[in-house]
C-alpha cells in the first residue's frame, strides 16, 4: 500500500467518489460556520471598525492563492518525474481555483483599502506581488488551452510552472526592494496576524479551514472532470480507428 496507488485513474476515481461528499459537506459547514461567526458575532475593531470582518475572506483567500500554486508545483514535479496522468490533470484543475482565490484576495483587498488607506489601489509590495501572481496564473492557463496534444500540454505547463515558481519568488523580493526604494510602505502595511486577538482568531481559523476544504473539494471535482474528458478523447480516437 503506497500513496502512488492513487495515481491510477481508476483507483483515484473510486477514492475521490467516496471522499467527495464528505469534503463537500465539511467545507460548506466550515465556510458557513466561520463566515457566519465572523460576520455576525465578532466585535468591531477599535481602529478599523467593521471592516475587520473582511479579514475572514481576505486572509484565507490569499493563503490559498499561494498554496494552490505550491500544489501545482508539486503535482507538476510528480508528473515530470513519475509521469502519473492524474497528477498533471490535478495541476490543470487547480489553476482556475487558485486564480479565483487570487482575484478574491485582490478585490477584497481593494475594497478594504479604500476606507482604510483612502485609496483603492496602492503599489504596496504585497498587493503588487499578488497582481503578478495573477498574471502567472493567466499565462499558465493560457498555455494549457493553447496546446492540443494533452501530454505535450502537461509537459510544457509543468516546465513553465517550475520556471515560473522561481521567477515568482524573485519577483516577490524584487517588489519588496522596489517599493522600499520609492517610499516607506510601513505606514500602509497590512497589520495582520500580529495584532489579531483571539476574538478574531478562532473564526478566522475556521474560515481558513473552510477555504482549504473548498479547495480540496473543487480540485477533486475538477480532476474527476478532467479524467473523464481525457477518457472521452481516448474513446473518440478509438472510434475513428474502428
Amino acid at each position: 500500500m503506497s500513496i502512488w496507488e492513487y495515481a491510477n485513474p481508476k483507483k483515484f476515481m473510486q477514492t475521490s467518489a467516496w471522499a467527495l461528499p464528505w469534503v463537500t459537506v465539511l467545507s460548506v459547514l466550515c465556510l458557513l460556520g466561520g463566515l457566519v461567526w465572523g460576520f455576525f458575532f465578532t466585535p468591531d475593531d477599535y481602529k478599523q471598525g467593521s471592516t475587520v470582518k473582511i479579514i475572514y475572506l481576505h486572509v484565507p483567500a490569499a493563503m490559498m492563492a499561494i498554496n494552490a500554486w505550491v500544489m501545482m508545483l508539486v503535482t507538476s514535479l510528480i508528473w515530470i518525474v513519475r509521469r502519473h496522468h492524474v497528477s498533471a490533470l490535478a495541476a490543470k484543475a487547480a489553476a482556475p481555483i487558485g486564480m479565483t482565490f487570487t482575484l478574491i484576495a485582490l478585490v477584497t483587498g481593494a475594497i478594504w483599502g479604500q476606507p482604510m488607506w483612502g485609496t483603492w489601489w496602492e503599489w504596496d509590495p504585497r498587493l503588487t506581488s499578488f497582481l503578478i501572481l495573477f498574471l502567472f496564473y493567466l499565462g499558465y492557463m493560457a498555455l494549457w488551452e493553447a496546446i492540443e496534444n494533452p501530454d505535450t500540454a502537461a509537459d510544457l505547463t509543468s516546465v513553465l510552472c517550475m520556471v515560473g515558481s522561481v521567477f515568482a519568488i524573485l519577483s516577490r523580493y524584487a517588489v519588496n526592494f522596489w517599493n522600499q526604494g520609492l517610499h516607506q510602505g510601513a505606514s500602509l502595511s497590512l497589520d495582520k496576524e500580529e495584532n489579531v486577538s483571539d476574538v478574531y482568531w478562532f473564526p478566522l481559523l475556521i474560515c481558513i479551514a473552510g477555504f482549504v476544504l473548498l479547495f480540496v473539494t473543487l480540485v477533486l471535482l475538477r480532476t474527476r472532470t478532467e479524467i473523464r474528458a481525457r477518457r472521452i478523447q481516448a474513446l473518440q480516437a478509438r472510434e475513428k480507428l474502428a
Binding site: 473582511i54 475572506l57 482556475p96 478574491i104 475594497i111 473543487l218 471535482l221 473523464r228 472521452i232 472510434e239
Partner: protein, 53 residues
C-alpha cells in the same frame, strides 16, 4: 439580526458579495462542466458498448 456595520457597511457587504459571487461562479462552472463531461462520456460509452457487443 444584521449587525450594525457603521459607516463601513458598504465596504464589508460589497467584499462579501464579491467573494461569494466569485466562489459561486467558480463552483457553478466546475459543476456545469462536470455534468456536461459526465453526460458526454456516458453517451460515448453506450454507443461503443453497442458497436462492440
Amino acid at each position: 439580526m444584521i449587525p450594525d456595520l457603521g459607516k463601513y457597511a458598504g465596504a464589508v457587504l460589497s467584499s462579501y458579495a464579491a467573494s461569494i459571487l466569485l466562489i459561486g461562479a467558480l463552483v457553478a462552472l466546475s459543476l456545469w462542466r462536470s455534468a456536461r463531461v459526465k453526460r458526454a462520456l456516458k453517451e460515448i460509452e453506450e454507443r461503443q458498448g453497442k458497436t462492440n457487443g
